[in-house]
Symmetry: C3
Subunit: 228 residues, 3 copies
């Protein structure tokens, strides 16, 4: 399996995962049939389209290759037909989002490397393509983007992209390289969700009793806000 085929396969599986994540989120918002398809497609292909524009691969694969649209339609159809089953999963949106995150981070980094970029833009474009679709979905559905919440999200994409680029640069590139990278990203994301891991948050870290004070402030601010 050469590099080109490998990243196309990764990209399509990631597209499927993100499309399900988008379809579930869109259906929960009670969008109509076409709205669900459009949101799924934007979520699934948005990150990849931004990546392709940035490396000059126009027209972007998500638009030029009919397979992406077909995979999106398949995922959307499955989500609508088997919604009770999909919904019974504990946190389906989060699960499929994590899988898509890992696949897109690795496939994005791999494609950027294949376009003979150096290591740093490859890692950045891996993060961009992994995070772009999710941010688009959240902005469109008027939610606070998951990337801004406290669980490790973009950091997991960084891990996946960095493992992929690092292993490739170290000359350890085998058939299993991308899967190792994907699994490390997905595992970190799911573990962060399960155990509630988060990166340090800097609220008034320099003062004596910072958190208490700030929480008081926040409560005051909130009550002021409510009083308005």
């Amino acid at each position: 399996m050469n590099a080109h085929t490998a990243y196309t396969v990764l990209d399509l599986i990631g597209t499927f995962a993100f499309a399900i994540s988008g379809a579930v989120a869109a259906r929960q918002r009670r969008l109509d049939l076409f709205g669900i398809v459009v949101v799924s497609f934007m979520v699934a292909c948005g990150g990849g389209i931004i990546r392709d524009l940035c490396i000059g691969a126009v027209p972007p694969a998500g638009l030029a290759n009919w397979a992406y649209l077909a995979v999106t339609l398949l995922a959307t159809g499955l989500t609508i037909a088997a919604y009770p089953q999909v919904r019974r999963l504990r946190h389906p949106v989060l699960l499929f989002d994590a899988i898509g995150l890992g696949l897109f981070a690795v496939a994005g980094a791999q494609k950027a490397l294949a376009y003979s970029q150096s290591a740093e833009p490859a890692i950045l474009l891996g993060i961009v393509s992994a995070v772009g679709g999710g941010v688009m979905r959240d902005v469109l559905l008027s939610r606070v983007p998951a990337i801004l919440e406290r669980e490790i999200y973009a950091s997991a994409a960084l891990l996946g992209a960095a493992v992929q680029v690092g292993l490739t640069y170290a000359g350890w590139s085998t058939f299993w390289t991308p899967w190792v990278a994907v699994i490390s990203c997905v595992a970190l994301r799911l573990a962060a969700l399960y155990f509630g891991w988060r990166l340090p948050v800097f609220h008034a870290a320099r003062s004596a009793q910072p958190q208490t004070v700030q929480r008081g402030d926040a409560a005051k601010a909130d009550s002021r806000h409510d009083a308005r």
Copy 2:
């Protein structure tokens, strides 16, 4: 009238319609003079710029061709000067939005075909350029994007782009082809608004009394939310 001239004319008329739609929405939000111009321009040219980036037509026509800026300024000036008249129209934003939707769907599909794309990306880019400006306007003005609401919106853009591409592929391309495509899109959108047509919404379609149950859940969720 050759293909190039035709899509430029369609594009400029669509720009005018979307610019009026953007200017009315921006003025209703009481933005200042320059803010109205900027929002109008982003609304009017945003979709086309995304399309041009995706087909590699850089710099995008909306930036390189002064006619787009001139048309936007003209539409904004007219909207400001004749606001009482524009406002007297029943739903001016919706009307001009529908016209711009049809023109951009057809012009976008036509331009993508002219860049020798195949049928599927041409239809997708027609939808993208038609829907892109409206989504940008709604995200910027912090409204729920019209594309996510229940009336037929992106489906109408799909109809217009598909009619245009289908007639062209069938060899029935005449002077009237784009206008037939535009009118079918605008008519579908306006009819959907007038009659309240909508695509199926899948709220818990599989269970016995789905809507009641889900509404109860939603109400409980809302009251929990309010109690916070």
Copy 3:
């Protein structure tokens, strides 16, 4: 100092200013360490990336040149380490935002001219690159974009870009040209903030007692909204 070096230096200083603005805003929202870095990077490089995509300079400098990432990390680290000092400034976000606005408006216009564009797209791309990062930050953090608020914002970017392009076209291009353009933009923005200058807002300018009537309408609309 040739044109290329000049706009890179301007761009990097603007990146630093916007990265601090983004880091302060992200920290105020209590994002985690990586979230702060990501938001800072998107804010600092988002406008420039859009500009580079529009002039066909792929991969965009913000991704290809490691200096932009390094400057962003430096600015983010400084903001986190010296947060109490940064915060003591009266309106740090607004101040650094104004400086970044001026630098990006001028550097964007200059780079577009260097890619042998004509005057109009150069000015437009100056505004786009200056305004793009701030709009991205505000949309991501779910705030009403500063561009839509009433103080002069995009108009200041227009002034900076127009002064830069105008002086260059007039043949008065010297070492000091970009700094004159930057200072005129920043001065206009800060003066507008300090004195509360704003462009005309057109609320029902044609009727006899427009504001009272409209405010009444708005109050009624608000109370209806609250009653729901």
